[in-house]
């Protein structure tokens, strides 16, 4: 379909071709330049061949459509699309960083690095999902890192925008995606579930933790289906340094039933950021694959499992909303804390499935050393966390539905807002006092800039307490 051989020095729609930097099976990548663009850009040119696989053509069409829709730090900035009838291409920002594949290939990474990578990739996935885009081909080759650290997801040829026509739906008899990382529902051509990306994420993390793929490299589709009934070898068995909490997260992502995985990339990100809050189940303790009898039983039940997977995958998942209660633990504010508790209880009652994040901001002083121990030698952090737990006790929320956080910051409002943004909080409940860090200014800034609804709580006769 390309009208002419592309060569160095040619100009296409104002883009000067400087150098071909990659020759792939499906596309060439050229470094290009245009006078009005002052950052490095590349041109992706598909190797379209009408005799060949039409999926290449449609895949490029999909990528053009999706790239023009998404933005932000977790995707390459899109510049222009070339018309199919003339010369199809996509011009985008050049990402000056390695792919995850280049960084680790089939090697296992240190645990800290896995968690760090996991957080960045989950943040990128959450951002993409927020923009209504499902990647459907998440794998190490499609994850890059900016020099500033953010993960960038590339190659949207199999992706789907929830609000736009799915150009790949029902188009092909074969499932689309990379089998090594593909969720079971994708084998049955379900293209509507964000949790398919969570599964692929789990496979990527499994590979980083163990140096192996969870289900090997199956050569034939029949073998690919084994993941419906066969569980992967637990990462800790292959690499004992893997902490139980990481195994818990990885195996939960790799659950065959979408309903059993994390329900959103935001949830996953939240757990990766707060490993101490992850609820450990039998998954964390597993030391071997299920035995022959169990596996055989699952194999025999596979047709029913597949039906359950499909039913689960075509139902929209429910993301548990997060309610953030912001605290002032100073003495004399008992009435305010009681009012806050009531407001939190009412928000929880009105938001089915919600989880509560309790945050205490500890303003750090500008001068002097911050002491972690008080005059009596008690650890302040431990004491404050205990205070938070005692406060929340009447709510009787099970573990997993409530979390406790101490944030230290000189800028209280900024710390609250940053927590709300990075954890995609749905509702902030904050107490207001007339003095101290929660005086008007902080509450006003939080209310003005919050990415969600804010409930400001006051104690009935708050003045008499805070003035004493």
């Amino acid at each position: 379909m390309a009208k002419a051989q592309l060569t160095v020095g040619m100009t296409i729609d104002g883009f000067l071709l400087e150098q071909r930097i990659h020759r792939g099976g499906m596309a060439d990548i050229w470094r290009v330049r245009r006078g009005d663009i002052d950052f490095p850009i590349i041109m992706k040119v598909p190797l379209l061949d009408f005799e060949g696989d039409i999926s290449v053509l449609v895949g490029f069409e999909v990528e053009q459509m999706i790239m023009a829709e998404v933005n932000g730090p977790h995707v390459p900035r899109w510049i222009a699309n070339g018309e199919f009838a003339v010369q199809p291409y996509i011009v985008m920002e050049y990402i000056d960083g390695p792919t995850l594949l280049k960084m680790w290939a089939d090697r296992a990474a240190p645990v800290d690095e896995i968690v760090h990578i996991g957080i960045e990739v989950a943040a990128a996935l959450a951002d993409l999902h927020q923009q209504h885009v499902l990647h459907f081909d998440l794998k190490p080759a499609n994850v890059m890192f900016r020099p500033t650290g953010e993960a960038v997801l590339i190659d949207f040829g199999l992706s789907r925008h929830e609000q736009l026509p799915d150009l790949l739906d029902e188009q092909f008899h074969r499932p689309t995606g990379t089998p090594d990382y593909m969720a079971p529902e994708q084998l049955f051509r379900v293209r509507s579930d964000k949790r398919s990306d969570i599964y692929a994420f789990g496979a990527v993390l499994y590979q980083l933790a163990t140096g192996q793929l969870p289900f090997g490299r199956p050569a034939r589709m029949r073998k690919v289906r084994r993941r419906v009934w066969r569980d992967p070898v637990p990462p800790r068995t292959l690499r004992p340094v893997t902490p139980p909490v990481l195994q818990e997260i990885i195996l939960r992502c790799l659950e065959p039933l979408p309903d059993a995985r994390y329900q959103s990339a935001t949830d996953l990100l939240f757990e990766l950021r707060h490993l101490d809050l992850v609820e450990l189940t039998e998954r964390a303790q597993r030391t071997q694959q299920s035995d022959f009898r169990t596996a055989l039983g699952r194999r025999l039940r596979a047709p029913r499992t597949i039906r359950t997977i499909l039913a689960s995958a075509t139902r929209p998942p429910v993301r548990p909303p997060i309610i953030l209660a912001v605290f002032d633990l100073r003495a004399g504010l008992e009435d305010l804390r009681q009012a806050l508790l009531e407001a939190a209880a009412s928000a929880l009652a009105n938001t089915p499935g919600a989880r509560l994040a309790c945050v205490n901001i500890m303003p750090t002083s500008l001068i002097g050393l911050d002491e972690n121990v008080d005059a009596a030698g008690e650890n302040i952090h431990v004491q404050k966390l205990a205070d938070l737990r005692i406060w929340a006790q009447p709510l009787q929320l099970p573990r997993g539905k409530i979390s406790y956080h101490l944030l230290e910051s000189r800028n209280v409002a900024a710390a609250i807002l940053e927590f709300a943004r990075s954890n995609t909080v749905d509702h902030i409940v904050i107490g207001a006092t007339r003095t101290g860090p929660f005086a008007g200014k902080v509450v006003a800034q939080v209310t003005a800039e919050a990415p969600c609804s804010v409930t400001v709580v006051r104690a009935g006769d708050e003045g008499s307490h805070s003035l004493r």
Partner: protein, 246 residues
């Protein structure tokens, strides 16, 4: 250029006014009416006069089956539609009837076709609900883009030379790129009697520079339109369905 598509107004003055006001606020350059100006609703004369005035100012209009039934009682219809058509006929002047009788079945413009129902034998008013019906329509025209109405249910079909049409349910207010390498068939939903469980009036905005189509939903005073239908003595179902979008 921004083109507004209004299909199946069905004599609903309140819905049409709301859509036109919305379109004006978006700086629409051109209006295309995709048929069925009358039938069902209580304001046929007002709607015909308004469309006629806009056509005189450059708008495009095609004929729908209800418009055709005014001049030709042989058009087959369900009972309540038939009742409404007889009532409508009594409300229109000869000039208004003449305007409806003179409407073209289809209009072609650039790479676009405007038609009320399927492009395949348009005078037989075939509904475009599924991919097979869309394929027949797409095969009956060489135009790349078809804009039509008739079903009262918004839908967007797309196809390539090698793949059969796929049906997409458009999301309101989301501009959808009508990609140049595909052929598209847009069913615009209904201004005056939506039937997709959303009572808001539906019309389309096509940006011919960016080649994007946006389905716009406009809430309007459906209660008033329903009261007028009841006051006119028309069948109750025609009033009740407006507030439910069925």
């Amino acid at each position: 250029m921004l083109i507004a598509f209004l299909a199946d107004i069905h004599a609903n003055r309140e819905a049409m006014s709301a859509c036109l006001a919305d379109a004006e606020s978006q700086d629409v350059d051109r209006y295309v009416f995709l048929g069925d100006l009358v039938g069902y609703g209580a304001d046929p004369a007002w709607v015909v006069d308004r469309v006629a005035a806009m056509v005189a100012a450059g708008a495009v209009v095609v004929r729908g089956n209800h418009d055709a039934a005014i001049g030709d009682p042989r058009e087959g219809m369900v009972a309540e539609a038939h009742t409404a058509i007889n009532w409508t006929r009594s409300r229109l002047t000869n000039a208004q009837k003449g305007f409806l009788a003179g409407l073209p079945l289809a209009v072609e413009e650039g790479d676009r076709l405007f038609v009320h129902a399927s492009a395949c034998a348009p005078q037989t008013w075939i509904y475009l609900f599924n991919s097979r019906e869309a394929e027949q329509s797409l095969m009956a025209t060489n135009q790349r883009l078809t804009f039509c109405g008739h079903t009262h249910v918004p839908a967007l079909f797309h196809t390539t030379a090698m793949t059969p049409p796929q049906r997409h349910v458009p999301i309101a207010a989301k501009p959808t790129p009508l990609l140049a390498q595909r052929r598209w068939l847009a069913v615009l939903g209904s201004v005056g009697q939506p039937r997709d469980n959303n009572p808001a009036a539906c019309y389309g905005l096509f940006d011919d520079v960016r080649s994007t189509l946006t389905y716009v939903r406009v809430p309007y005073d459906a209660d008033l339109a329903a009261r007028k239908i009841r006051a006119a003595g028309l069948p109750e179902i025609l009033a009740a369905r407006l507030t439910l979008g069925i």
